[in-house]
C-alpha cells in the first residue's frame, strides 16, 4: 500500500458539476502513515485535484515562549532544545547566541570549533532523517532504512560526547559543557567515512533513480520571486538559485575559518530541493573533516556569573543561524532581570509549512501532498513551538 493514500472523508458539499464530481473535504490529518510530525492539512478536493488546502498547526503547541519567561537564563538551556525535535542543537545554539549577545559574553576559540562540528553533525543527522521521511513517502523504503541506520551512528557519536542521543544540552552560554573525550576525533572520522562510503549506493538507489525523477521533477515548483515574497529561506530558496546561507552571510561559530561552498539548483521543484539536501549533506561531512583538522587547543568554556543570581542588562536582540531547514532566528528581550522577558523563535518551517504549502497545494494532485510537504522540509514542532 502506498504511503500517500489520504485519510477519512468527512462531509460532502452539495455542489456537483456536470462530470459528476463532488467537492469533498479530506483530512491529511495528524494520524496518517505519511505524516511526519503532528500536523494536519485540510484539503478541499474535486476529483483528484486539490481546490484549496488549509494547514492546521497547533497539535504540538507547548507554549515554550511563555514557559521560558518563568525560568532563569540557565534553566532555559535544557528546555530550549525541545522546540525542534529533529535537530535540537540548532535551538541550543540560537538561544546561546542570543544570551551571549545580550550579556556580552565571549566564547573561546576551541569552543567555536566544537560548536561548528556539533552543528554540522546535527545537520547530517537531520538531513538523514529528512531523507528517511521523504523516501518513505515516495515508497522507496530501502534507502529510508539505510538513512535511519546511518543517523543512528551519528546519534551514537552524540551519546559518547554529551550523554544524550537526541537532546544534548551541550551548548550553553560561555562555550560548551565539556571537551572531546580521548580518541573522539578518530571516531568521528571513522563514522563519517562509513556513512560517506555508502553515498554511491544512495545515489544509485534513490537520487539517480528514474522513478524518483518522474515522481518529483516539476512537482511543487516555486519560482524565486514567489519564494522571496512568501518568506522562504533554506533549501526552498537555494533550490531556486539564490546562494543565501546564514553561515556565509553572517558567519557565527567557526564557519568563516573553513573553505566551503553553498550548493544550489535552478528549477525550484521538489527534485531540486532534495538534490540540494543531498549536496549539503556531503558538504557538511567535508566541512567536519576540515574543522577537525583546523581545531586549536585551549579552553572550551568561559565562566558565566552564578546561574542562580545571573541578571542580564536590559536590551533586545535578533540573532540568526542556519539550521538544516533554513534561517532560524531568535528575538529576545531582557528587562534586566534573571529571566527572559520575551522570547520569540523565528523558525524556518513557519513560512514553509503554512504559507508556501497552502500555495503550492492549490491545483496539485492528492498523491503529491506528502511529496510537497516533505520536500519543503517542514518540521512540525518548529511551527507550533
Amino acid at each position: 500500500m502506498s504511503a500517500d493514500e489520504v485519510g477519512v472523508m468527512t462531509r460532502t458539499s452539495e455542489s456537483t458539476d456536470r462530470a459528476g464530481e463532488r467537492e469533498l473535504e479530506l483530512y491529511f490529518g495528524p494520524q496518517h502513515l505519511g505524516m511526519v510530525g503532528n500536523f494536519s492539512i485540510t484539503l478541499k478536493v474535486r476529483g483528484d485535484r486539490i481546490v484549496e488546502a488549509t494547514a492546521n498547526p497547533g497539535y504540538l503547541h507547548r507554549g515554550f515562549e511563555k514557559l521560558m519567561e518563568y525560568r532563569t537564563w540557565m534553566q532555559n538551556v535544557p528546555l530550549v532544545c525541545r522546540v525542534n525535535v529533529v535537530e535540537p542543537d540548532s535551538m541550543e545554539m540560537i538561544y546561546t547566541m542570543g544570551v551571549e549577545k545580550l550579556a556580552g559574553i565571549e566564547v573561546p576559540e576551541r569552543a567555536q570549533y566544537i560548536r561548528s562540528i556539533c552543528l554540522e553533525l546535527a545537520h547530517v543527522g537531520s538531513h538523514l532523517f529528512g531523507l528517511w521521511a521523504y523516501s518513505n513517502m515516495l515508497g522507496f523504503d530501502t534507502p529510508a532504512q539505510w538513512a535511519m541506520y546511518h543517523r543512528d551512528l551519528v546519534l551514537d557519536l552524540f551519546e559518547e560526547l554529551t550523554g544524550g542521543r537526541v537532546y544534548h544540552i551541550y551548548l550553553w552560554p560561555g562555550g560548551v559543557r565539556r571537551d572531546f573525550p580521548e580518541g573522539f576525533k578518530d571516531r568521528i572520522v571513522e563514522t563519517l567515512h562509513s556513512i560517506g562510503g555508502c553515498v554511491p549506493d544512495y545515489d544509485s538507489t534513490f537520487f539517480n533513480n528514474r522513478l524518483f525523477h518522474q515522481r518529483a521533477h516539476g512537482v511543487a515548483k516555486i519560482s524565486q520571486e514567489r519564494a522571496k515574497a512568501l518568506g522562504a529561506t533554506g533549501q526552498v530558496l537555494r533550490a531556486t538559485g539564490m546562494r543565501y546561507d546564514i553561515r556565509k552571510v553572517e558567519p557565527y561559530a567557526a564557519y568563516d575559518q573553513v573553505d566551503w561552498e553553498v550548493p544550489t539548483r535552478e528549477e525550484g521543484d521538489a527534485y531540486s530541493r532534495v538534490w540540494v539536501i543531498r549536496d549539503e549533506m556531503i558538504e557538511s561531512v567535508h566541512m567536519i573533516f576540515k574543522l577537525l583538522d583546523a581545531m586549536p587547543d585551549g579552553e572550551v568554556y568561559n565562566r558565566v556569573p552564578n546561574p542562580f543570581k545571573w541578571e542580564i542588562p536590559p536590551g533586545e536582540t535578533y540573532v540568526r543561524c542556519e539550521s538544516s531547514r533554513g534561517e532560524l532566528g531568535l528575538y529576545m528581550v531582557s528587562d534586566g532581570g534573571d529571566k527572559p522577558y520575551r522570547v520569540h523563535f523565528r523558525t524556518p518551517s513557519y513560512p514553509h509549512g503554512l504559507t508556501i504549502l497552502e500555495e503550492l497545494l492549490k491545483g496539485a494532485s492528492i498523491a503529491d501532498v506528502g511529496n510537497t510537504m516533505i520536500s519543503l522540509y517542514v518540521v512540525a514542532p518548529e511551527i507550533d513551538r
Binding site: 498547526p57 497547533g58 503547541h61 507554549g63 515562549e65 511563555k66 524565486q224 522571496k228 515574497a229 512568501l230 518568506g231 529561506t233 530558496l237 531556486t240 538559485g241 539564490m242 546562494r243 543565501y244 556565509k248 552571510v249 553572517e250 533586545e316 535578533y318 540568526r320 534561517e327 532566528g329 528575538y331 528581550v333 522577558y341 520575551r342 520569540h344 523565528r346 513557519y350 513560512p351 503554512l354 504559507t355 507550533d384
Partner: protein
C-alpha cells in the same frame, strides 16, 4: 545602505524616531497608522524579507509593542554583501485595551500566519486580514494567553479542576 536608509526615513516621514546601533541594527519607532507606508518604503529600498513579526507585552507601561524585523535577500547568482547583515526593527506601541493595527499582508504576504498568531496570543486586531482565526489554540480565553497578566496556574485550576472527578 544603513546611512542612506536612515536619511531616507528621516526625510520622508516626519514622526519616526530612528536609532542605529553598531552591529548593523536600525531601530525605527513609528505611530501605528504609518506602519504600512513605512513598510512599503523599506521594501522598495531593498529590505524584502520580513523575518519576524513579534509582539512584546510591556505591562508596566501599559502598551503592547509590535515589532517587524526586516532584512534583505540577495540578488540571484551574486555573492552576499554587507547589505545582508542589516536588520531593521520597525516598532510601534499600541494601547493594551482594544489594540488595533493595519495588516501588513499587502506589503509582505508572509505576514499572514504571524498576524494570526499575535491576534490569538496577545489580542491585537489586524484590520484587513482575510482570515483572523486562531492558528494554534482551540479554546476561548478571557485574557490572551501570552499577556503578562495571564496566570497559567490559575487558568488551569479554574478550567480543569472545576471538572468534578469521575466518582463524584
Amino acid at each position: 545602505m544603513t546611512a542612506s536608509l536612515r536619511k531616507g526615513l528621516e526625510s520622508t516621514f516626519k514622526d519616526v524616531e530612528v536609532r542605529g546601533s553598531e552591529d548593523g541594527r536600525l531601530s525605527v519607532l513609528a505611530p501605528k497608522d504609518s506602519i504600512p507606508v513605512i513598510l512599503r518604503h523599506l521594501r522598495e529600498n531593498g529590505l524584502d524579507h520580513l523575518a519576524l513579526l513579534s509582539c512584546v507585552d510591556w505591562q508596566q507601561r501599559g502598551t503592547l509593542e509590535v515589532v517587524y524585523i526586516l532584512s534583505a535577500y540577495m540578488q540571484n547568482d551574486t555573492d552576499h554583501t554587507s547589505d545582508q547583515r542589516l536588520h531593521v526593527f520597525l516598532r510601534t506601541h499600541l494601547p493594551r485595551e482594544n489594540p488595533e493595527l493595519p495588516s501588513a499582508i499587502a506589503v509582505f504576504e508572509n505576514a499572514e500566519p504571524y498576524e494570526r498568531e499575535i491576534h490569538e496570543l496577545f489580542g491585537v486586531h489586524f484590520v484587513g486580514h482575510p482570515r483572523l482565526i486562531p492558528l494554534f489554540l482551540e479554546r476561548e480565553y478571557r485574557i490572551p494567553p501570552f499577556r503578562k497578566d495571564f496566570d497559567t496556574r490559575k487558568y488551569a485550576e479554574e478550567t480543569f479542576d472545576a471538572i468534578p472527578p469521575v466518582d463524584k
